[in-house]
Protein backbone atom coordinates (compact mmCIF):
# COMPACT_ATOMS: atom_id res chain seq x y z
CA UNK A 1 0.00 0.00 0.00
CA UNK A 2 1.28 3.45 -0.94
CA UNK A 3 1.03 6.51 1.33
CA UNK A 4 2.97 9.39 -0.25
CA UNK A 5 4.79 11.50 2.36
CA UNK A 6 3.94 14.85 0.81
CA UNK A 7 0.14 14.43 1.08
CA UNK A 8 -2.25 14.96 3.96
CA UNK A 9 -5.03 12.51 4.81
CA UNK A 10 -8.43 12.19 6.46
CA UNK A 11 -9.54 9.37 8.73
CA UNK A 12 -12.20 8.70 6.06
CA UNK A 13 -9.45 7.80 3.57
CA UNK A 14 -9.27 10.89 1.38
CA UNK A 15 -5.94 12.45 0.48
CA UNK A 16 -5.39 16.16 -0.07
CA UNK A 17 -2.54 17.99 -1.75
CA UNK A 18 -2.31 21.72 -1.04
CA UNK A 19 -0.61 24.00 -3.51
CA UNK A 20 -0.98 27.71 -2.83
CA UNK A 21 -4.65 28.25 -2.05
CA UNK A 22 -5.84 25.23 -4.02
CA UNK A 23 -6.41 21.75 -2.60
CA UNK A 24 -6.59 18.65 -4.80
CA UNK A 25 -8.57 15.75 -3.35
CA UNK A 26 -8.79 12.02 -4.04
CA UNK A 27 -9.17 8.72 -2.21
CA UNK A 28 -6.22 6.75 -0.90
CA UNK A 29 -4.66 3.57 -2.18
CA UNK A 30 -5.92 1.88 0.99
CA UNK A 31 -9.47 3.05 0.19
CA UNK A 32 -9.44 1.92 -3.43
CA UNK A 33 -8.13 -1.49 -2.40
CA UNK A 34 -10.83 -1.86 0.22
CA UNK A 35 -13.55 -0.74 -2.19
CA UNK A 36 -12.54 -2.87 -5.14
CA UNK A 37 -13.29 -1.81 -8.70
CA UNK A 38 -14.72 1.71 -8.72
CA UNK A 39 -17.60 2.01 -11.20
CA UNK A 40 -18.92 5.49 -10.54
CA UNK A 41 -17.87 8.57 -8.58
CA UNK A 42 -20.20 11.42 -7.78
CA UNK A 43 -18.32 14.63 -6.95
CA UNK A 44 -19.60 18.12 -6.11
CA UNK A 45 -19.81 20.27 -9.25
CA UNK A 46 -17.72 23.45 -9.54
CA UNK A 47 -19.16 26.24 -7.43
CA UNK A 48 -20.24 23.94 -4.61
CA UNK A 49 -19.23 25.06 -1.13
CA UNK A 50 -17.72 22.15 0.79
CA UNK A 51 -17.03 21.79 4.50
CA UNK A 52 -14.22 19.77 6.06
CA UNK A 53 -15.53 16.49 7.47
CA UNK A 54 -18.87 16.70 5.65
CA UNK A 55 -20.00 14.26 2.94
CA UNK A 56 -19.80 15.84 -0.51
CA UNK A 57 -20.13 12.89 -2.89
CA UNK A 58 -19.97 9.13 -3.16
CA UNK A 59 -17.84 6.38 -4.58
CA UNK A 60 -19.59 3.31 -6.02
CA UNK A 61 -17.66 0.10 -6.37
CA UNK A 62 -18.76 -3.37 -7.37
CA UNK A 63 -19.54 -4.34 -3.82
CA UNK A 64 -20.42 -1.15 -2.01
CA UNK A 65 -20.95 2.57 -1.97
CA UNK A 66 -19.07 4.96 0.31
CA UNK A 67 -19.48 8.61 1.12
CA UNK A 68 -16.78 10.97 -0.01
CA UNK A 69 -15.84 13.56 2.62
CA UNK A 70 -14.32 16.92 1.93
CA UNK A 71 -10.99 17.26 3.74
CA UNK A 72 -11.14 21.08 3.62
CA UNK A 73 -13.43 24.14 3.70
CA UNK A 74 -13.82 26.02 0.44
CA UNK A 75 -15.38 26.09 -2.99
CA UNK A 76 -15.01 23.46 -5.70
CA UNK A 77 -13.26 24.90 -8.74
CA UNK A 78 -12.65 21.87 -10.91
CA UNK A 79 -13.60 18.21 -11.16
CA UNK A 80 -11.69 15.46 -12.93
CA UNK A 81 -13.76 14.84 -16.05
CA UNK A 82 -11.68 11.78 -16.95
CA UNK A 83 -13.16 9.89 -13.98
CA UNK A 84 -16.61 10.01 -15.51
CA UNK A 85 -15.40 8.08 -18.55
CA UNK A 86 -12.97 5.87 -16.71
CA UNK A 87 -13.73 5.45 -12.98
CA UNK A 88 -11.04 2.74 -12.94
CA UNK A 89 -8.43 5.52 -12.79
CA UNK A 90 -9.27 5.73 -9.09
CA UNK A 91 -8.00 2.15 -8.77
CA UNK A 92 -5.06 2.30 -11.14
CA UNK A 93 -3.65 5.70 -10.11
CA UNK A 94 -5.38 6.96 -6.96
CA UNK A 95 -2.85 9.74 -6.25
CA UNK A 96 -2.38 10.80 -9.88
CA UNK A 97 -4.81 10.49 -12.78
CA UNK A 98 -7.45 9.34 -10.28
CA UNK A 99 -7.74 12.70 -8.49
CA UNK A 100 -11.36 13.73 -7.96
CA UNK A 101 -11.82 17.48 -7.42
CA UNK A 102 -10.05 20.75 -6.56
CA UNK A 103 -11.07 23.26 -3.92
CA UNK A 104 -10.27 26.95 -3.54
CA UNK A 105 -9.46 27.06 0.16
CA UNK A 106 -11.61 29.32 2.30
CA UNK A 107 -8.68 30.10 4.61
CA UNK A 108 -6.48 31.00 1.68
CA UNK A 109 -3.21 31.03 3.62
CA UNK A 110 -1.79 27.92 1.97
CA UNK A 111 -1.47 26.14 5.30
CA UNK A 112 -2.81 22.63 5.67
CA UNK A 113 -6.13 22.94 7.51
CA UNK A 114 -6.32 21.47 11.03
CA UNK A 115 -7.59 17.95 11.58
CA UNK A 116 -5.75 16.36 8.70
CA UNK A 117 -3.38 13.45 9.22
CA UNK A 118 0.23 13.22 8.15
CA UNK A 119 1.35 10.26 6.04
CA UNK A 120 2.79 8.64 9.16
CA UNK A 121 -0.41 9.14 11.13
CA UNK A 122 -2.51 7.80 8.27
CA UNK A 123 -0.27 4.77 7.93
CA UNK A 124 -0.72 4.02 11.62
CA UNK A 125 -4.48 4.39 11.27
CA UNK A 126 -4.72 1.95 8.40
CA UNK A 127 -2.31 -0.52 9.96
CA UNK A 128 -4.66 -0.82 12.95
CA UNK A 129 -8.20 -0.87 11.66
CA UNK A 130 -10.92 0.19 14.14
Amino acid sequence: MTVPDELSYTPEHEWVSISGTTASVGITDHAQRALGDVVFVSVPPPGTKVTAGEPCGEVESTKSVSDLYSPVDGEVTEVNAEIDDDPGLVNSDPYGAGWLFKVQLAAGDGEAPPGLLSAQEYERLTANPQ
Partner: protein
Protein backbone atom coordinates in the same frame (compact mmCIF):
# COMPACT_ATOMS: atom_id res chain seq x y z
CA UNK B 1 -13.40 -0.96 6.65
CA UNK B 2 -13.13 -4.51 7.89
CA UNK B 3 -16.05 -6.31 9.38
CA UNK B 4 -15.22 -6.89 13.00
CA UNK B 5 -16.14 -10.48 13.70
CA UNK B 6 -14.85 -12.84 16.30
CA UNK B 7 -13.33 -15.38 16.66
CA UNK B 8 -10.55 -15.69 14.08
CA UNK B 9 -11.98 -17.06 10.84
CA UNK B 10 -11.19 -20.61 9.72
CA UNK B 11 -8.58 -21.11 7.04
CA UNK B 12 -9.24 -23.40 4.09
CA UNK B 13 -6.63 -25.85 2.77
CA UNK B 14 -5.90 -23.20 0.12
CA UNK B 15 -5.66 -20.02 2.19
CA UNK B 16 -1.85 -20.01 1.99
CA UNK B 17 -2.10 -20.23 -1.80
CA UNK B 18 -4.39 -17.19 -1.86
CA UNK B 19 -1.99 -15.28 0.38
CA UNK B 20 0.87 -16.08 -2.00
CA UNK B 21 -1.26 -14.79 -4.86
CA UNK B 22 -1.77 -11.49 -3.02
CA UNK B 23 -5.52 -11.96 -2.60
CA UNK B 24 -7.64 -9.59 -0.56
CA UNK B 25 -9.03 -11.93 2.08
CA UNK B 26 -12.28 -11.45 3.92
CA UNK B 27 -14.16 -13.12 6.74
CA UNK B 28 -17.10 -14.80 5.04
CA UNK B 29 -19.43 -16.84 7.25
CA UNK B 30 -16.56 -17.54 9.63
CA UNK B 31 -14.06 -18.48 6.92
CA UNK B 32 -11.08 -16.51 5.66
CA UNK B 33 -11.83 -16.40 1.94
CA UNK B 34 -10.41 -14.64 -1.12
CA UNK B 35 -12.62 -11.69 -2.02
CA UNK B 36 -10.55 -10.83 -5.09
CA UNK B 37 -7.01 -11.34 -6.35
CA UNK B 38 -6.80 -8.15 -8.41
CA UNK B 39 -9.74 -6.60 -10.21
CA UNK B 40 -13.00 -8.46 -9.53
CA UNK B 41 -14.38 -7.10 -12.79
CA UNK B 42 -11.49 -8.68 -14.70
CA UNK B 43 -12.07 -11.96 -12.82
CA UNK B 44 -15.76 -11.82 -13.71
CA UNK B 45 -15.01 -11.23 -17.39
CA UNK B 46 -12.42 -14.01 -17.43
CA UNK B 47 -15.07 -16.48 -16.24
CA UNK B 48 -17.47 -15.32 -18.99
CA UNK B 49 -14.88 -15.47 -21.76
CA UNK B 50 -12.22 -18.00 -20.63
CA UNK B 51 -12.18 -19.59 -17.17
CA UNK B 52 -11.86 -18.87 -13.48
CA UNK B 53 -10.63 -20.96 -10.56
CA UNK B 54 -12.45 -20.67 -7.23
CA UNK B 55 -11.80 -21.93 -3.71
CA UNK B 56 -15.20 -22.88 -2.28
CA UNK B 57 -13.92 -24.89 0.66
CA UNK B 58 -16.13 -22.91 3.02
CA UNK B 59 -19.20 -24.77 1.75
CA UNK B 60 -20.59 -27.34 4.18
CA UNK B 61 -20.50 -31.03 3.23
CA UNK B 62 -22.85 -33.34 5.09
CA UNK B 63 -22.90 -37.06 4.38
CA UNK B 64 -26.19 -38.93 4.72
CA UNK B 65 -25.66 -42.67 4.58
CA UNK B 66 -27.38 -45.92 5.42
CA UNK B 67 -30.28 -48.07 4.24
CA UNK B 68 -32.77 -45.27 4.99
CA UNK B 69 -30.67 -42.40 3.62
CA UNK B 70 -32.94 -41.71 0.65
CA UNK B 71 -36.11 -41.89 2.74
CA UNK B 72 -34.58 -39.62 5.38
CA UNK B 73 -33.78 -36.99 2.74
CA UNK B 74 -37.23 -37.31 1.18
CA UNK B 75 -38.64 -36.38 4.60
CA UNK B 76 -36.05 -33.73 5.43
CA UNK B 77 -35.95 -31.87 2.09
CA UNK B 78 -38.55 -30.59 -0.37
CA UNK B 79 -37.12 -32.63 -3.26
CA UNK B 80 -37.64 -36.22 -4.32
CA UNK B 81 -34.17 -37.54 -3.53
CA UNK B 82 -35.08 -41.24 -3.62
CA UNK B 83 -35.69 -40.75 -7.36
CA UNK B 84 -32.16 -39.40 -7.86
CA UNK B 85 -29.88 -41.81 -9.71
CA UNK B 86 -26.42 -42.57 -8.32
CA UNK B 87 -23.95 -40.27 -10.07
CA UNK B 88 -26.46 -37.46 -10.33
CA UNK B 89 -26.97 -34.24 -8.36
CA UNK B 90 -30.00 -32.09 -7.65
CA UNK B 91 -30.63 -28.52 -6.56
CA UNK B 92 -33.08 -28.58 -3.64
CA UNK B 93 -33.99 -26.87 -0.39
CA UNK B 94 -34.53 -27.57 3.26
CA UNK B 95 -37.56 -25.78 4.67
CA UNK B 96 -39.03 -25.19 8.11
CA UNK B 97 -42.49 -26.51 8.99
CA UNK B 98 -43.94 -23.13 7.96
CA UNK B 99 -42.40 -23.44 4.48
CA UNK B 100 -39.64 -20.88 5.06
CA UNK B 101 -36.32 -21.71 3.42
CA UNK B 102 -33.57 -22.78 5.85
CA UNK B 103 -31.04 -23.31 3.08
CA UNK B 104 -30.69 -24.12 -0.58
CA UNK B 105 -28.62 -27.20 -1.26
CA UNK B 106 -27.05 -29.39 -3.87
CA UNK B 107 -27.44 -33.07 -3.08
CA UNK B 108 -25.23 -35.65 -4.77
CA UNK B 109 -26.18 -39.31 -4.77
CA UNK B 110 -22.83 -41.06 -4.73
CA UNK B 111 -24.28 -44.56 -4.30
CA UNK B 112 -27.62 -46.11 -3.45
CA UNK B 113 -27.19 -45.52 0.26
CA UNK B 114 -24.74 -42.62 0.16
CA UNK B 115 -25.60 -38.95 -0.35
CA UNK B 116 -23.54 -35.79 0.01
CA UNK B 117 -25.49 -32.64 0.91
CA UNK B 118 -23.69 -29.38 0.14
CA UNK B 119 -24.90 -26.45 2.23
CA UNK B 120 -24.04 -22.77 2.40
CA UNK B 121 -21.27 -22.05 4.88
CA UNK B 122 -23.44 -19.78 7.02
CA UNK B 123 -26.14 -22.45 7.29
CA UNK B 124 -24.04 -25.61 7.53
CA UNK B 125 -24.54 -26.08 11.26
CA UNK B 126 -28.30 -25.43 11.01
CA UNK B 127 -28.61 -27.90 8.15
CA UNK B 128 -26.57 -30.48 10.06
CA UNK B 129 -28.77 -30.08 13.15
CA UNK B 130 -31.99 -30.25 11.14
CA UNK B 131 -30.91 -33.25 9.09
CA UNK B 132 -29.82 -35.05 12.25
CA UNK B 133 -33.16 -34.32 13.94
CA UNK B 134 -35.18 -35.24 10.90
CA UNK B 135 -33.26 -38.51 10.41
CA UNK B 136 -33.35 -39.54 14.05
CA UNK B 137 -34.85 -42.96 14.70
CA UNK B 138 -34.22 -44.03 11.11
CA UNK B 139 -31.46 -46.13 9.59
CA UNK B 140 -29.75 -43.06 8.20
CA UNK B 141 -26.64 -41.45 9.64
CA UNK B 142 -25.79 -37.78 9.17
CA UNK B 143 -22.10 -36.83 9.41
CA UNK B 144 -20.53 -33.40 9.08
CA UNK B 145 -17.73 -33.95 6.57
CA UNK B 146 -16.89 -30.26 5.97
CA UNK B 147 -13.35 -30.67 7.32
CA UNK B 148 -12.77 -33.71 5.10
CA UNK B 149 -13.16 -31.80 1.84
CA UNK B 150 -11.66 -28.91 -0.02
CA UNK B 151 -13.85 -27.66 -2.87
CA UNK B 152 -12.35 -26.16 -6.03
CA UNK B 153 -14.48 -24.90 -8.90
CA UNK B 154 -13.31 -24.28 -12.43
CA UNK B 155 -15.90 -22.30 -14.37
CA UNK B 156 -16.08 -20.80 -17.83
CA UNK B 157 -16.16 -21.76 -21.50
CA UNK B 158 -12.57 -23.09 -21.35
CA UNK B 159 -13.12 -25.14 -18.17
CA UNK B 160 -13.69 -28.50 -19.85
CA UNK B 161 -10.71 -28.06 -22.17
CA UNK B 162 -8.43 -27.23 -19.24
CA UNK B 163 -9.67 -30.05 -17.04
CA UNK B 164 -9.85 -32.80 -19.67
CA UNK B 165 -6.13 -33.75 -19.79
CA UNK B 166 -5.95 -33.84 -15.98
CA UNK B 167 -8.76 -36.28 -15.31
CA UNK B 168 -9.65 -39.88 -16.01
CA UNK B 169 -13.28 -38.85 -16.48
CA UNK B 170 -14.65 -38.59 -20.01
CA UNK B 171 -15.93 -35.04 -19.68
CA UNK B 172 -18.10 -35.36 -22.76
CA UNK B 173 -20.14 -37.90 -20.80
CA UNK B 174 -20.23 -35.86 -17.57
CA UNK B 175 -23.60 -34.15 -17.97
CA UNK B 176 -24.81 -31.01 -16.21
CA UNK B 177 -25.58 -31.95 -12.61
CA UNK B 178 -23.66 -35.19 -12.75
CA UNK B 179 -21.32 -35.90 -9.86
CA UNK B 180 -19.18 -38.93 -9.31
CA UNK B 181 -15.80 -40.20 -8.19
CA UNK B 182 -12.89 -39.60 -10.53
CA UNK B 183 -9.26 -38.55 -10.41
CA UNK B 184 -7.86 -35.09 -11.11
CA UNK B 185 -4.10 -34.58 -11.19
CA UNK B 186 -3.73 -38.10 -9.83
CA UNK B 187 -5.87 -37.34 -6.76
CA UNK B 188 -9.12 -39.06 -5.95
CA UNK B 189 -11.94 -36.53 -6.11
CA UNK B 190 -15.67 -36.16 -6.41
CA UNK B 191 -16.11 -34.45 -9.77
CA UNK B 192 -19.35 -32.61 -10.51
CA UNK B 193 -20.56 -30.57 -13.45
CA UNK B 194 -22.19 -27.88 -11.35
CA UNK B 195 -21.57 -24.24 -10.60
CA UNK B 196 -22.87 -20.86 -9.55
CA UNK B 197 -21.72 -18.64 -12.38
CA UNK B 198 -24.03 -19.27 -15.34
CA UNK B 199 -21.15 -20.85 -17.25
CA UNK B 200 -20.20 -24.42 -17.98
CA UNK B 201 -17.90 -25.70 -15.32
CA UNK B 202 -16.96 -28.22 -12.68
CA UNK B 203 -16.80 -28.45 -8.93
CA UNK B 204 -14.10 -30.72 -7.58
CA UNK B 205 -14.23 -32.04 -4.02
CA UNK B 206 -10.75 -33.11 -2.93
CA UNK B 207 -9.18 -34.34 0.25
CA UNK B 208 -7.72 -31.32 2.12
CA UNK B 209 -4.17 -32.58 1.65
CA UNK B 210 -4.70 -32.80 -2.13
CA UNK B 211 -6.18 -29.34 -2.56
CA UNK B 212 -2.94 -27.49 -3.31
CA UNK B 213 -1.89 -30.11 -5.83
CA UNK B 214 -5.22 -30.01 -7.69
CA UNK B 215 -5.29 -26.18 -7.60
CA UNK B 216 -1.72 -25.99 -8.96
CA UNK B 217 -2.38 -28.55 -11.69
CA UNK B 218 -5.45 -26.64 -12.87
CA UNK B 219 -3.61 -23.29 -12.67
CA UNK B 220 -0.73 -24.62 -14.72
CA UNK B 221 -2.95 -26.35 -17.26
CA UNK B 222 -5.11 -23.24 -17.59
CA UNK B 223 -2.31 -20.73 -18.01
CA UNK B 224 -2.45 -21.04 -21.80
CA UNK B 225 -6.25 -20.79 -21.74
CA UNK B 226 -6.52 -17.48 -19.83
CA UNK B 227 -7.60 -19.14 -16.58
CA UNK B 228 -7.41 -16.77 -13.60
CA UNK B 229 -8.09 -17.28 -9.89
CA UNK B 230 -11.41 -15.64 -9.02
CA UNK B 231 -12.74 -14.53 -5.66
CA UNK B 232 -16.08 -14.28 -3.92
CA UNK B 233 -16.72 -10.79 -5.31
CA UNK B 234 -16.72 -12.12 -8.87
CA UNK B 235 -18.71 -15.17 -7.78
CA UNK B 236 -21.45 -12.88 -6.48
CA UNK B 237 -21.73 -10.77 -9.63
CA UNK B 238 -21.58 -13.89 -11.82
CA UNK B 239 -24.43 -15.58 -9.95
CA UNK B 240 -26.46 -12.36 -9.97
CA UNK B 241 -26.16 -12.00 -13.75
CA UNK B 242 -27.19 -15.65 -14.02
CA UNK B 243 -30.27 -14.90 -11.89
CA UNK B 244 -29.29 -17.41 -9.22
CA UNK B 245 -30.55 -16.76 -5.69
CA UNK B 246 -28.25 -16.19 -2.75
CA UNK B 247 -29.28 -17.32 0.70
CA UNK B 248 -29.64 -14.27 2.94
CA UNK B 249 -30.61 -12.11 -0.06
CA UNK B 250 -33.29 -13.78 -2.20
CA UNK B 251 -33.78 -16.72 0.19
CA UNK B 252 -34.36 -16.81 3.92
CA UNK B 253 -36.63 -18.16 6.65
CA UNK B 254 -39.35 -15.62 5.74
CA UNK B 255 -39.34 -16.67 2.09
CA UNK B 256 -40.86 -19.82 0.59
CA UNK B 257 -39.43 -21.45 -2.56
CA UNK B 258 -42.56 -20.22 -4.37
CA UNK B 259 -41.81 -16.58 -3.50
CA UNK B 260 -38.39 -16.96 -5.08
CA UNK B 261 -39.87 -18.39 -8.28
CA UNK B 262 -38.41 -21.77 -7.39
CA UNK B 263 -41.63 -23.64 -6.60
CA UNK B 264 -40.49 -26.31 -9.05
CA UNK B 265 -38.07 -27.66 -6.43
CA UNK B 266 -40.99 -28.47 -4.10
CA UNK B 267 -42.11 -31.97 -5.05
CA UNK B 268 -45.64 -31.98 -3.73
CA UNK B 269 -46.33 -35.07 -5.85
CA UNK B 270 -43.86 -37.26 -3.96
CA UNK B 271 -45.59 -39.85 -1.84
CA UNK B 272 -43.51 -39.32 1.28
CA UNK B 273 -44.44 -36.74 3.87
CA UNK B 274 -41.84 -34.01 4.31
CA UNK B 275 -41.19 -31.13 6.65
CA UNK B 276 -43.14 -28.11 5.42
CA UNK B 277 -45.48 -30.06 3.15
CA UNK B 278 -48.77 -28.70 4.54
CA UNK B 279 -47.63 -25.09 4.48
CA UNK B 280 -46.06 -25.40 1.04
CA UNK B 281 -49.10 -27.17 -0.43
CA UNK B 282 -51.22 -24.25 0.70
CA UNK B 283 -48.67 -21.79 -0.62
CA UNK B 284 -48.64 -23.50 -4.02
CA UNK B 285 -52.35 -22.85 -4.45
CA UNK B 286 -52.49 -19.34 -3.01
CA UNK B 287 -51.90 -16.14 -4.94
CA UNK B 288 -48.28 -15.02 -4.58
CA UNK B 289 -47.57 -12.44 -1.90
CA UNK B 290 -44.53 -11.14 -3.72
CA UNK B 291 -42.72 -11.73 -6.97
CA UNK B 292 -38.97 -11.91 -7.56
CA UNK B 293 -38.06 -9.73 -10.54
CA UNK B 294 -35.02 -8.44 -12.37
CA UNK B 295 -34.32 -4.72 -12.61
CA UNK B 296 -31.90 -2.83 -14.83
CA UNK B 297 -30.82 0.61 -13.67
CA UNK B 298 -30.84 3.52 -16.08
CA UNK B 299 -28.26 5.62 -14.29
CA UNK B 300 -24.85 4.52 -13.07
CA UNK B 301 -25.86 4.50 -9.44
CA UNK B 302 -26.26 0.96 -8.20
CA UNK B 303 -29.33 -0.46 -6.43
CA UNK B 304 -28.13 -2.33 -3.34
CA UNK B 305 -29.57 -4.96 -1.00
CA UNK B 306 -32.32 -3.43 1.14
CA UNK B 307 -33.15 -0.40 -1.03
CA UNK B 308 -36.84 0.34 -1.65
CA UNK B 309 -38.32 -0.11 -5.11
CA UNK B 310 -40.80 2.64 -5.99
CA UNK B 311 -43.87 2.69 -8.23
CA UNK B 312 -44.90 6.27 -8.96
CA UNK B 313 -42.77 7.24 -5.98
CA UNK B 314 -44.46 4.84 -3.55
CA UNK B 315 -42.56 1.84 -2.11
CA UNK B 316 -43.71 -1.39 -3.78
CA UNK B 317 -40.86 -3.76 -2.97
CA UNK B 318 -37.28 -4.15 -1.94
CA UNK B 319 -33.98 -4.90 -3.64
CA UNK B 320 -32.44 -8.22 -2.54
CA UNK B 321 -29.17 -8.09 -4.55
CA UNK B 322 -27.70 -5.44 -6.78
CA UNK B 323 -24.43 -4.65 -8.46
CA UNK B 324 -22.94 -3.23 -11.60
CA UNK B 325 -23.13 -5.90 -14.30
CA UNK B 326 -19.71 -6.30 -15.93
CA UNK B 327 -21.29 -8.17 -18.85
CA UNK B 328 -24.21 -5.83 -19.52
CA UNK B 329 -22.53 -2.59 -18.48
CA UNK B 330 -25.49 -1.35 -16.44
CA UNK B 331 -26.51 -1.75 -12.79
CA UNK B 332 -28.70 -4.81 -12.25
CA UNK B 333 -30.71 -5.98 -9.29
CA UNK B 334 -33.11 -8.63 -8.11
CA UNK B 335 -36.02 -7.41 -6.02
CA UNK B 336 -39.21 -8.64 -4.44
CA UNK B 337 -42.19 -6.60 -5.65
CA UNK B 338 -45.83 -6.62 -4.64
CA UNK B 339 -47.57 -8.74 -7.32
CA UNK B 340 -49.78 -5.85 -8.48
CA UNK B 341 -46.76 -3.59 -8.99
CA UNK B 342 -44.83 -6.32 -10.77
CA UNK B 343 -47.77 -6.95 -13.10
CA UNK B 344 -48.27 -3.30 -13.89
CA UNK B 345 -44.56 -2.68 -14.32
CA UNK B 346 -44.46 -5.54 -16.81
CA UNK B 347 -47.14 -3.87 -18.92
CA UNK B 348 -46.41 -0.19 -18.42
CA UNK B 349 -43.33 0.40 -16.31
CA UNK B 350 -41.62 3.07 -18.34
CA UNK B 351 -40.89 6.11 -16.21
CA UNK B 352 -42.87 4.83 -13.25
CA UNK B 353 -40.56 2.22 -11.73
CA UNK B 354 -37.55 3.43 -9.75
CA UNK B 355 -35.21 2.47 -6.95
CA UNK B 356 -34.71 4.75 -3.97
CA UNK B 357 -30.94 5.09 -4.05
CA UNK B 358 -30.07 6.94 -0.88
CA UNK B 359 -32.89 9.41 -1.20
CA UNK B 360 -33.13 9.88 -4.94
CA UNK B 361 -35.51 7.94 -7.18
CA UNK B 362 -33.35 6.44 -9.92
CA UNK B 363 -35.35 5.05 -12.86
CA UNK B 364 -35.25 1.28 -13.35
CA UNK B 365 -36.72 -1.08 -15.91
CA UNK B 366 -38.22 -4.49 -15.34
CA UNK B 367 -36.16 -7.08 -17.25
CA UNK B 368 -36.54 -10.85 -17.52
CA UNK B 369 -34.40 -13.15 -15.38
CA UNK B 370 -31.74 -14.28 -15.86
CA UNK B 371 -29.91 -11.14 -16.92
CA UNK B 372 -27.36 -13.29 -18.71
CA UNK B 373 -27.63 -16.66 -20.41
CA UNK B 374 -24.53 -18.24 -21.86
CA UNK B 375 -24.44 -18.71 -25.62
CA UNK B 376 -25.70 -22.16 -26.58
Amino acid sequence: MTDPQSPAPRRTPLTAVHEDLGATLTDFAGWLMPLRYGSETAEHKAVRTAAGLFDLSHMGELAVTGPAAAQALDYALVGNLSALQPGRARYTMICAADGGVLDDLIVYRLAGEEFLVVANAANASTVYTELTDRASGTQAVVTDRTSDYALIAIQGPNAARILAPLTDAQLGEVKYYAGYRATVAGCRVLLARTGYTGEDGFEIFTRPQDAERVWAALSDAGAADALVPAGLAARDTLRLEAGMPLYGNELGPDVTPFDAGLGRVVKLDKTADFVGRAALAQRAKAAPQRVLVGLAGQSRRVPRHGYDVLWDGVPCGRVTSGSPSPTLGVPIAMAYLEPAAAGQAGRDGAGRLAVDIRGSAEPAALVPLPFYRRPA
